[in-house]
């Protein structure tokens, strides 16, 4: 039995839990922990330049691996700076453990220097939180934190540690807890077999079925099972923004993303479907458009690990609570056992209809123009071509995000990282860094815009320190593109505060941070420069690409309408 201080126990626990990297920023309340960390060589701490970036880095790691990322911040401003990143992870169900320092317990509540009620501030945006009351409980609480973060519907967990809990002078027995004990928590381990059978029967009898799969399939590691079911029944598959990659994006059965900026084909197929199999998706308002007009003829099967996601916005006809992987496996087995194939004629006529919608133009047609100006869509298509669709792509938020998910073909899960729920600008770069750190051999791109990148651009410094050669694809249209698009469409082109005056010279900025900067203004330079950038394996390259400011993201669903009600271009609508 070893005697360790609270700080040492925390660090030792992280080591025993198999944590390789933690992302953080030191300060008064966590200095005991940082001192213990100094002596622990098996954990590398990544010093970010702003705590928000620490949370997004941990988040990026979690999205790419499925394991909880670990963040360490100090009390007060350290903790509040982490809030946006915690909320981002919460909205997208990303496992994360955030350790925040706190003023000494005898000073809690006295408005002490750098005191903030972290438990209170983070309460609505965490899966759970703990405040350490005695140093000896640190290993057990940390075990619970990891277990809660990673199990069931994952999410961020905050552990707030008052400074006196880590006092190096007070030592306690340390034992690594093998299991977390929580009598009040038990996520479903499998779905209800009767419900799964009903769902299978409904799918087999369907005339116009579709799979609508979301981020839960990726979080649940159920891509293979989903693909097997889709192939077996020849079902069309649409993915949510969060689900991209859970079904191969270049497969014939894939009909594109659905929702506000979803494909014409996916949105029409949903609208006309008679059975929708929703898997690990939550019928978000950016997916369903007007709830009252949503898919009028569809019976809905909804598989989700979180009962509260079921029948929240859209009533499910067959709810199935359970881990998507095990439910889909059971469904595949039941379909095999029933031994019936769906009616070949109805399948063929449904596919004929879908292919007609898909037409000759593909899923996301756009006006390629005369080549005098680079279209943002073309830049993403080129990124997909140059990286062979194999890159990890972390995106910021805005038009570039939508272009990325429309034109990059994700064939594998965990490759597309974006802030889908919260829509956090500034997410892209640190998320990409979190991936690159853990997958140094992989191509990692950050698709961003001149607005988003400036929300965490200080991390270019962290990239240099820790050698994180990500490639930044800056679709620079000189305006807050998505805001501008709405102002074009809804506010008669009154561009209230949506353009960016005094943009920095991004090439020189990248160089000032010790990286490579390239500006692309000519379409013919796009391919060679992008290839050159990705060929520089050990350098961060900032590609500042001048793109068409007037471009809009289409399709765009018409507010409060049905799934099928969309603008297809500036002048055409369904």
């Amino acid at each position: 039995m070893e005697l360790l201080s609270g700080a040492e126990m925390l660090v030792r626990f992280l080591r025993d839990e198999g944590v390789k990297y933690i992302y953080g920023y030191p300060g008064g309340a966590v200095l005991h922990i940082y001192d213990a960390l100094f002596k622990e060589k098996s954990i590398e701490h990544i010093l970010v330049r702003h705590e928000q970036a620490a949370t997004h880095m941990a988040d990026g790691y979690a999205r790419a691996t499925g394991k909880a990322g670990v963040v360490l911040v100090t009390s007060g401003p350290g903790a509040t700076n982490a809030i946006t990143g915690i909320a981002t992870a919460f909205m997208d169900s990303i496992p994360m453990v955030v350790i925040s320092g706190q003023v000494p317990s005898n000073m809690v509540g006295t408005d002490a220097f750098q005191e903030t009620d972290m438990i209170g501030i983070s309460r609505p945006i965490v899966k759970h939180s703990f405040m350490i009351k005695h140093p000896s409980e640190i290993p057990e609480v940390m075990k619970k934190a990891f277990y809660l973060a990673e199990s069931g519907r994952p999410g961020p967990v905050v552990v707030d540690i008052p400074k006196d809990m880590t006092n190096p002078a007070e030592k306690f027995e340390y034992v690594y807890p093998k299991k977390a004990k929580l009598r009040s928590y038990g996520p479903a381990l499998r779905g209800h077999s009767g419900q799964i059978r009903k769902a299978a029967e409904l799918l087999l009898a369907a005339k116009r079925p579709i799979i609508y799969a979301g981020g839960g399939v990726i979080l649940g590691g159920a891509s293979a099972q989903l693909t097997e079911l889709a192939k077996m029944l020849n079902l069309p598959v649409t993915n949510t923004l969060m689900g991209l990659g859970c079904y191969p994006g270049s497969d014939r059965q894939f009909v594109g993303m659905l929702g506000m900026h979803g494909s014409y084909t996916a949105n029409l197929a949903m609208h006309h479907a008679d059975v929708i199999l929703a898997v690990g998706a939550r019928f978000d308002d950016r997916v369903i458009n007007g709830a009252a007009k949503f898919c009028p003829n569809a019976k809905i099967i909804h598989i989700d690990i979180d009962p509260a996601s079921i029948s929240k916005t859209i009533k499910a006809d067959i709810p199935i609570v359970g881990p998507v992987g095990s439910v889909l496996t059971e469904m595949v087995a039941i379909v095999k056992e029933i031994g019936q194939a769906p009616n070949a004629e109805t399948v063929a006529s449904w596919w004929k209809q879908i292919d007609e919608w898909r037409g000759n133009r593909g899923l996301f047609p756009y006006d390629k123009g005369d080549g005098s100006i680079i279209k943002p869509q073309a830049a993403i298509e080129m990124l997909c071509e140059v990286t062979k669709g194999e890159a990890y792509v972390a995106s910021d938020v805005g038009q570039h995000q939508m272009f990325a998910c429309q034109y990059y073909k994700f064939d594998k899960p965990n490759r597309w990282l974006n802030s889908g729920g919260l829509g956090t600008m500034g997410f892209g770069l640190p998320a990409a860094m979190g991936v690159k750190l853990n997958f140094p051999e992989a191509d990692v791109a950050c698709v961003t815009g001149e607005g988003s990148i400036q929300m965490n651009i200080q991390e270019l410094s962290t990239c240099l320190q820790y050698d994180l050669p990500v490639k930044i694809i800056n679709l620079n249209n000189g305006a807050l593109g998505m805001v501008r698009q709405w102002q074009d469409m809804v506010y008669n082109s009154r561009y209230s505060h949506s353009y960016m005056e005094s943009l920095p010279d991004f090439v020189r900025l990248a160089e000032a941070y010790g990286h490579v900067g390239m500006r692309i203004t000519d379409l013919k330079d796009l391919k060679p420069k992008m290839e050159e950038a990705f060929a520089m394996k050990d350098r961060l390259v900032f590609l500042d690409i001048a793109v068409d400011t007037s471009e809009h993201v289409y399709p765009m669903q018409i507010k409060d309408g049905a799934m099928r009600d969309m603008w297809l271009s500036k002048t055409e609508r369904t």
Partner: protein
């Protein structure tokens, strides 16, 4: 419809704030709330009343169940149950009123638990409706102060909420 939701939760600091926070965060109604430790000091019993459509109540119970510290939950209004609320009420008791208040208290099976020359303090337990009726019967003009505990309840028969 009005629902009485009763739950067992870990008797830990912060647990109550998560329950209350959930209601404001998700825009649910909360009409009354009462909480105290049970015979097992590690558990608290919390009972709340809320009003909403069935879909909203379903979401409330699901989201309450999702809170890590909530161990078990029951919607008492879904089956036969006993509900009680405790009221302490100070009423002017002078002259002819003194006898009248005493009579009304007896009719409602309340007890006068404190007496001064001018004031009766009455204790009354019952359903929310019964307490409302008592207030009406005494008349707001003579009421000095009202304290109500909020509704608490328990299932009828063999059904128990325990771990």
């Amino acid at each position: 419809m009005r629902h009485i939701i009763s739950l067992l939760m870990e008797n830990e600091p912060g647990a109550l704030s998560r329950v209350v926070g959930l209601f404001s965060q998700r825009n649910y109604n909360i009409e009354s709330l009462t909480v105290a430790p049970t015979e097992d000091p590690t558990l608290s019993r919390l009972t709340l009343t809320t009003v909403g459509h069935e879909e909203v109540i379903e979401q409330i119970t699901k989201n309450l169940n999702k809170l890590i510290e909530v161990v078990k939950l029951v919607d008492l209004s879904e089956s036969a149950h006993i509900e009680r609320e405790l009221m302490l009420i100070k009423v002017k008791a002078t002259g002819a009123q003194r006898a009248e208040v005493k009579r009304t208290t007896d009719i409602f099976r309340g007890q006068i638990v404190d007496v001064t020359t001018n004031v009766y303090t009455i204790q009354l337990a019952g359903t929310t409706d019964k307490l409302d009726s008592f207030i009406q019967a005494v008349g707001t003009a003579s009421i000095l102060e009202v304290v109500r505990s909020g509704v608490t309840g328990i299932s009828r028969g063999d059904k128990v909420l325990s771990i």
